[in-house]
Every structure is written in structure tokens, then in C-alpha cells.
Symmetry: C2
Subunit: 217 residues, 2 copies
């Protein structure tokens, strides 16, 4: 059972702490404000109020025994950079830090963050790609021009088979998977018929995904 | 060519505006602060400094002719709620608003937002699921217990075929796709061999994804 420390319980830090706790990790949450600490105490192993850049505080909580550290400050650059530095110095083997922009990210990488993430920038990219097709509700970038899109089955797909939908010439797109309630149908056959409330995962360019979603309209 | 207005050019709004502009949309960006407006003017069709809740300002910029409106404030609840309301009142057909938490989201839905998104919360969920396997660099939730993970091919996979990797009993997981440079190999055959720098997209439970990533180690 891995131990994870999350320093900074803002929107992102709280969501990460909550997800990790639900997946069975032992989670220690730290924030300088009392309010997020009280909220997190409902779902993490231990929630402590204090300054995440203070080495003495971290050692008193045995943070150096953590397997992973997550530094979740974006707007407060000093706290982000100092907390990342302290975690690496006390020996946390894997530190993931959130950055507000590329320069912030470069600083974090240079001082030893093992991974830097840009949650807001990623979300903007995801939304940008999913605007073309209203039914897209998630997206993963694969190449500069192609990606994976998860879409709610459009109304005009219901009752049609994949063979029907694939019948369009020059469609550079693959249906990778259909989620039907809690069942995953991977590499679906041509005869598979789309049902209401199916979710479809496809891979292709934005243009191909856009064309695919309008077949049969 | 769809016209999109983005009100609020923080980290998320700027990333969305930039992605949409690169995909060929006509993008109008509005922010109350001068700095993000100057930055956005390099890549959007028009960047304007002003209050996104001011109907007169929006009409002077012909915002009612937009196809989509994106309201990108999280911390400033009043601006988020009022801008969403004004966009719907002046007739923008599709409004997507960012929310900081569930209650904020409920208010936005009730006043007419067509879609509500929670970028920071989503990012926390994604990170939580990808901690188990260090090489996971993106994740889409499919069901409460299963998802799609994109992972950098681990060192110990290189040179092995999928038949080799699948040879593990009771592995409830599918390899949906391999990305090799700019090429997408969908429904890869059993004889396909993993190369360095491949990215692999798999579908399964966290536990199955975790076990899969350690095969051959
Ligand atoms: N030195 C510190 N030690 C611990 N927690 C801190 C420290 N400084 C700031 N925080 C906390 O970190 C959290 C997130 O910080 P910040 O506001 O900088 O980031 P943010 O990018 O706006 O967060 P989010 O988008 O996730 O809400 C806040 O709850 C804040 O109280
Ligand atoms: N009334 C308004 N009209 C236009 N822009 C506004 C208004 N109020 C705030 N903004 C701008 O919206 C942007 C984002 O707002 P806010 O800080 O509330 O959200 P945030 O969730 O912290 O943003 P992000 O996480 O994307 O950086 C800021 O650049 C701010 O200047």
C-alpha cells in the first residue's frame, strides 16, 4: 500500500487526494489553510494544517517515508518550488508537481521534480478538440493531428451496425471500443449494433471524428 | 468556420483559446485584465479587454453571433455566473462554463449552461489513476472501475511481441492501439513487436493495467 503526501488541497489537490484515497492509497494531505484540511479529513488517512515548505513539519509527519509526493500549488509559485525542493531533499523518491505555465514547469524540472503537470492547459486542449463534435466528452492527444475521443452515441447512430457506419468511403478512423453500461466491448465486430446510452471510443483526426459523428444524420 | 467567444483568459481560458485558434476557429477572447489580453492577441482573431458580464460590451463585439461561448472563471463565481447568464440571454446557442465545485456547477446548469466542466477535479482523477503505473501519461475514465490508459512503452517491453505479453493468465485487458512516431496502429496483431518510444493505449481495470505494465520485468 503506497503512501502519498499531497501538499496543497486546492481544487486539484483535493480531487487527487480523494481519488487516491478511493483507490486504496494511504494519503496524507497538507494545506496552510484550515478549511481544505477539515474537508479532506473526511476521506484521507491524515489531514494536517501547516506550511508544506517547512522541513521540520514534514519530518514530524514522517513525510520522508512517502512513496510519492504531489505538490499541488499553481498560483503560489514560491510554495510550489520550495515544497518540491524539500520533498526531494528529504528523500521522497517520486515527486509530481503542478505548474501554472511552461517557465514554472522548467524551474520545477530543474530542481528535481520527477514529473510536471499542467492541469488547466491540458483541460483547454481537451475542450478545444472536443468542440467540433458536441457528443465528445473526453479526449486524449495521440499525435499533433490525431487523437482518441470518447463520445456519447449520437441519436442517429442508435440501431445501426458498425458495418453501416464504416460504409463511408475514405474514413480514416477506427472504433476501438464501445462502453455499454459497465461492460467494455473492445475491438467490436462489424455486426455490433449501437444502443442508446452507448459510449464509443474512436481514434482518428479531428476531421475524421467530425465526419464520423455526422454519418446517417 | 465556427465563431467562439472565450470569456476569461486565465490558465484554462488561454489554453482553450489557443487550441481553438490552432484548429481554425474564429476566436474572440475577453478578459478584465490587460495582461492576458495582450498575450492572447498573438493567436486569437480578436482580443478585447473588458467585463464579460457587461451585455453592452458583448453586443458591441457582436458576441450574439457566436456559435459557442466558453466562460472560463473558477475562482470568481459572480463573473462566471453572470457571464453565463448574459451569453444565454443574448442568444449564444451553446455555452460551456467551467466550475470550481459541484455547487457552482449546479448553479450554472440551472441558469442555462449547456455543459459544465471541472478541469481541476478531472485532472486530479486522471492523476490519481495514473499513479499506479509510472509510465501512464494520460487516462480516460470508462466505468467506475475501468478506464483507458495511455502509457509510454516500459523498457522491459521493448522487442517483445503482444503474443508474449498476452501470455499471462487471467489478464482482463486489451491493447487497443500503438502509437509509433506519427503512425497509429489500431487493433494491433499478436505478432506486433513493441519498439522503443512506442506509446500503448490499453483498456482495463487499474489492477489489470498495473499487472500488465510489470509483465517481463
Ligand atoms: N506553503 C504552503 N503549504 C501548504 N499549502 C499551501 C501553501 N501555500 C499555498 N497552499 C495551499 O495550496 C492550495 C493551492 O494553492 P494555489 O492557490 O497556489 O493553487 P491553484 O493552482 O489556484 O489551485 P487549484 O487550481 O487546484 O485550486 C491552496 O489550498 C493553498 O491554501
Ligand atoms: N468579469 C470578468 N470579465 C472578464 N474576465 C474576467 C472577469 N472576472 C475575472 N476575469 C478573468 O477571468 C480569468 C480567470 O478567472 P479566475 O481567476 O476566476 O479563474 P481560475 O479558475 O483561477 O482560472 P485558471 O485556473 O484558468 O487560471 C482571469 O484572467 C480574470 O482576469
Amino acid at each position: 500500500q503506497d503512501r502519498v503526501v499531497v501538499i496543497g488541497l486546492g481544487r486539484f489537490g483535493t480531487s487527487t487526494a480523494r481519488t487516491l484515497a478511493s483507490l486504496g492509497y494511504e494519503v496524507l494531505g497538507i494545506d496552510i489553510d484550515e478549511r481544505p484540511v477539515t474537508e479532506a479529513s473526511d476521506f484521507v488517512t491524515l489531514a494536517a494544517q501547516g506550511d508544506g515548505t517547512d522541513e521540520e513539519l514534514l519530518r514530524s509527519l514522517h513525510v520522508e517515508e512517502s512513496d510519492v509526493g504531489i505538490v499541488a500549488q499553481g498560483e503560489n509559485l514560491a510554495a510550489s518550488v520550495l515544497a518540491t525542493m524539500v520533498l526531494k531533499q528529504i528523500g521522497v523518491p517520486w515527486v509530481i508537481s503542478k505548474a501554472a505555465n511552461k517557465l514554472h514547469g522548467d524551474v520545477l524540472t530543474r530542481i528535481g521534480a520527477d514529473r510536471v503537470i499542467f492541469p488547466e492547459a491540458d483541460a483547454g486542449i481537451r475542450l478545444g478538440h472536443s468542440l467540433a463534435v458536441r457528443t465528445i466528452n473526453d479526449y486524449i492527444t495521440l499525435t499533433p493531428t490525431a487523437g482518441l475521443a470518447k463520445m456519447h452515441a449520437p441519436q442517429h447512430f442508435i440501431g445501426r451496425s458498425l458495418a453501416d457506419l464504416y460504409n463511408t468511403p475514405d474514413l480514416a478512423l477506427s472504433v476501438l471500443l464501445i462502453r455499454r453500461k459497465d461492460q467494455l466491448i473492445t475491438a467490436p465486430s462489424y455486426t455490433e449494433q449501437i444502443e442508446a446510452d452507448d459510449e464509443i471510443v474512436v481514434a482518428g483526426t479531428d476531421a475524421a471524428i467530425n465526419r464520423f459523428s455526422t454519418i446517417g444524420q
